[in-house]
C-alpha cells in the first residue's frame, strides 16, 4: 500500500491502515458455507460461545480465588459463594460450562465421525480438533483441583500416579510433577498456573489452528457432496443466490448459527440457575484430607469412559489400554480406509461401527460411575474389550467397503 489518501470516513481511515475490508471478506462475507448442513454444524459456534462464558466467568473467579492449600477451599466456598456479589453466578456459570462444554465437544466429534468430516483433505481439522480435546481435558482436570476439596485432592493423587507408568515405577517423575511427595502446595500453585495461563493460551492457539484448518478445505456438508467452492461462490456473487450451493458465513449463515446458540443459551442458563448441582460433586464440598480417601473415586462424567478402560485390567495393561483410548481417536482419518465421505447411514459396515462405538462409550461411561464390583466389573470389562476390538476392526471393515 504505502499510498495514503485523505480518509473519507472512520472506516476508510481504518481500512487504509488495517485492511479491515479484506479481513471482513476473508472472515465473514466471503467465507463460504454449504447450504445443506443441519443444526449439528452449529456446535462449533456453540463451543466458541461456551468458551467465552468460561473465560469471562473465570476472570471473575480469579479475582477472589486464593491458590493456597490453607485458603483455597474457603475462598471458593465461602468468599466467592457468599461474600462476593454475584460470585455464585460466576462459579455456577464456570462449573456448568465446564461440564456442558464436554457434552457439546462429544456431539461435535460424533457429528464429524458420522458425516465423515475428517476425511479427504480435512484431516487437519480433525487432528487439531482432537488436540483441542486433549487441551480441554487438561484444562478441566487442572481446574478441578483448584477448590481443593476431597475429590480434587484424590483425583490429583490418582491421575498424577498414572505417570509412574505402572511397573516402571517412575516415582521420581510423579514427585517432579507434584513438586512434593503428595499433592500439596507446590502442586496446587502449578496447576493454578496451568489452568489460568498456559493451557488457556494453548487452547486459544489451537482454536486458531482449528479455524485455519477449516478455512482452506471448507466445511463438509450433510450429503458429503464435493462442492466447487470457487464456482459456486462466483454464482452467488453474480446474483444467483438461490442456485448457488453455498452462502456467506455472515450474515446469512450466522443467523442460523445464532438461532441454535439462542436455544442453547436458554438451556444453559436453565442449568446454571436451577440445576447447577449436577456439575458439582458433593464429595468436593469436604475439604481435602490426605489421610482419608472417599469411598468411591470417580472422575467427572466426561472422563468416565476412558477411566473404565483403565479399571478392569492389571496396572500395566490397564495403563497401556488407557493410553490407547486417549490417542486412538486422533488417528481416525488414517484408520478409516474408505474414500467415502458421506453420512454413515449410506456406508456399509461403518454404519454399525458408528452406532456400536457410541453405545460402547455410553456403556463404559455408565459402568465407570458404578462401583467396581461384581456384575458391573464384568460388563465394564466386556465393553472395554469391545471398544479396543472395534478400533482394530475399523481399518478392515472400511477397506472392504466399496466406493460409492
Amino acid at each position: 500500500m504505502a499510498h495514503f489518501t485523505k480518509a473519507t470516513s472512520v472506516k476508510d481511515w481504518l481500512n487504509q491502515r488495517l485492511a479491515i475490508e479484506k479481513v471482513e471478506k476473508v472472515m465473514a462475507s466471503e467465507y463460504w458455507i454449504p447450504k445443506n448442513i443441519n443444526f449439528l454444524w452449529a456446535m462449533g459456534m456453540v463451543l466458541v460461545i461456551t468458551f467465552v462464558l468460561l473465560l469471562v466467568s473465570g476472570i471473575f473467579l480469579l479475582m477472589y480465588y486464593q491458590p493456597s492449600v490453607g485458603m483455597a477451599f474457603d475462598s471458593v466456598n465461602y468468599t466467592i459463594m457468599r461474600e462476593v456479589g454475584f460470585g455464585w453466578l460466576w462459579r455456577h456459570v464456570h462449573g456448568v460450562a465446564a461440564s456442558v462444554v464436554f457434552l457439546i465437544i462429544y456431539i461435535h466429534m460424533f457429528t464429524g465421525i458420522y458425516y465423515g468430516s475428517y476425511k479427504k483433505g480435512r484431516e487437519m481439522i480433525w487432528i487439531s480438533g482432537m488436540l483441542l480435546f486433549i487441551a480441554f481435558s487438561t484444562e478441566a482436570f487442572s481446574g478441578y483441583m483448584l477448590p481443593w476439596g476431597q475429590m480434587s485432592y484424590w483425583a490429583g493423587m490418582v491421575i498424577t500416579n498414572l505417570f509412574s507408568g505402572g511397573s516402571l515405577h517412575a516415582d521420581g517423575l510423579v514427585e517432579w510433577i507434584r513438586g512434593d511427595y503428595v499433592p500439596a502446595q507446590a502442586f496446587l500453585t502449578r496447576f493454578f498456573m496451568l489452568h489460568v495461563l498456559l493451557v488457556p493460551i494453548a487452547i486459544m492457539g489451537l482454536i486458531g489452528l482449528h479455524f485455519a484448518a477449516l478455512r482452506i478445505p471448507h466445511v463438509n456438508n450433510q450429503d458429503g457432496d464435493e462442492i466447487d467452492f470457487e464456482a459456486e461462490s462466483k454464482k452467488y456473487l453474480d446474483g444467483d443466490k438461490a442456485g448457488s450451493k453455498v452462502m456467506r458465513f455472515a450474515n446469512d449463515f450466522m443467523s442460523k448459527d445464532m438461532m441454535v446458540v439462542g436455544v442453547y443459551l436458554v438451556f444453559f442458563f436453565y442449568l446454571v440457575f436451577y440445576n447447577y448441582g449436577f456439575a458439582m460433586d458433593p464429595v468436593n464440598f469436604d475439604p481435602a484430607d490426605g489421610l482419608k480417601t472417599p469411598a468411591h473415586i470417580y472422575p467427572e462424567w466426561y472422563f468416565l469412559w476412558s477411566y473404565e478402560i483403565l479399571r478392569p485390567f492389571n496396572i500395566d495393561l490397564g495403563l497401556a489400554l488407557f493410553g490407547f483410548a486417549q490417542v486412538i481417536f486422533v488417528f481416525l482419518p488414517f484408520l478409516d480406509r474408505s474414500p467415502n465421505s458421506v453420512p454413515a447411514s449410506r456406508r456399509g459396515a461403518f454404519k454399525y461401527w458408528f452406532w456400536g462405538m457410541l453405545i460402547v462409550m455410553i456403556v463404559l461411561t455408565a459402568m465407570g460411575k458404578l462401583p467396581p464390583e461384581g456384575m458391573f466389573s464384568t460388563i465394564g470389562l466386556v465393553a472395554a474389550i469391545i471398544f479396543i476390538a472395534m478400533w482394530i476392526a475399523l481399518p478392515i471393515i472400511t477397506s472392504l467397503e466399496k466406493k460409492l
Binding site: V158, N161, L162, Y181, V182, G290, T293, R311, F313, S377
Partner: protein, 174 residues
C-alpha cells in the same frame, strides 16, 4: 555469493547461540519444578510403638502420606506364612504391619475391614491381606514399607535402618 555464505554463517551462529540458551533454560525449568529443599528435608517421624492396641489399625502421617500401623495379635502371628513373616516389623518382641497406606495401584487409601477381609481399595477394587500383600488386582504389589529404623521401642520413619535395608534387598518392598 559471498554475502550469501556470510548470511548462512550468521544464521548458523545464531542457531548455535539459541540452542545453547534453549538447553540452558530447559535445565532451569526442570529444576524449578523439582520438590523444594524444604519439602525434601521435612520428613522424619518418630513413633512410640508401645502405645498401639492389638488388631487396631492406626494411621500415622509421614511426608504427607498415611502410614498404616497394625499391631498383630498372637493368633495372627502364629498363623503367618513365611512370606507374611518377612513383612513383619518386630519392635521389642511385638509384631507390626508397617506400610505406606496408599494403594500401589493409583494411590487411594484402602480401608481396613478386619482380620478376615484385609484391606479394600474402593478406587478400582484392589484388595490386600492384613500382612499387606495383594490378594486382588489391579494393585501390582503389596503395600510399600516406608524407610524405618528401630530404636528401642521407638520407630524412626524416614531413616533406613538395617531391617529396612534387608527388606529392600530381598525385594519385599520397593
Amino acid at each position: 555469493m559471498e554475502s550469501n555464505s556470510r548470511r548462512g554463517f550468521m544464521g548458523k551462529a545464531f542457531g548455535a547461540v539459541a540452542a545453547v540458551g534453549a538447553v540452558g533454560s530447559l535445565v532451569a525449568m526442570k529444576s524449578s519444578w523439582d520438590p523444594l529443599p524444604s519439602v525434601k528435608a521435612a520428613g522424619f517421624t518418630t513413633l512410640d510403638m508401645s502405645t498401639y492396641e492389638e488388631n487396631e489399625l492406626i494411621t500415622e502421617k509421614w511426608r504427607g502420606k498415611p502410614i498404616f500401623v497394625l499391631k498383630k495379635t498372637a493368633a495372627m502371628v502364629a498363623s503367618q506364612t513365611d512370606a507374611q513373616k518377612e513383612r513383619d516389623v518386630v519392635v521389642d518382641g511385638m509384631h507390626f504391619m508397617l506400610a505406606i497406606g496408599l494403594c500401589t495401584h493409583l494411590g487411594c487409601i484402602p480401608a481396613y475391614k478386619g482380620e478376615k477381609d484385609g484391606f479394600l481399595c474402593a478406587c478400582h477394587g484392589g484388595q490386600f491381606d492384613w500382612a499387606g500383600a495383594v490378594t486382588k488386582v489391579p494393585p501390582p504389589r503389596g503395600f510399600d514399607i516406608p524407610p524405618f529404623k528401630i530404636d528401642g521401642n521407638k520407630l524412626v520413619l524416614g531413616e533406613a535402618g538395617p531391617e529396612y535395608t534387608k527388606m529392600k534387598e530381598t525385594g519385599i518392598t520397593l
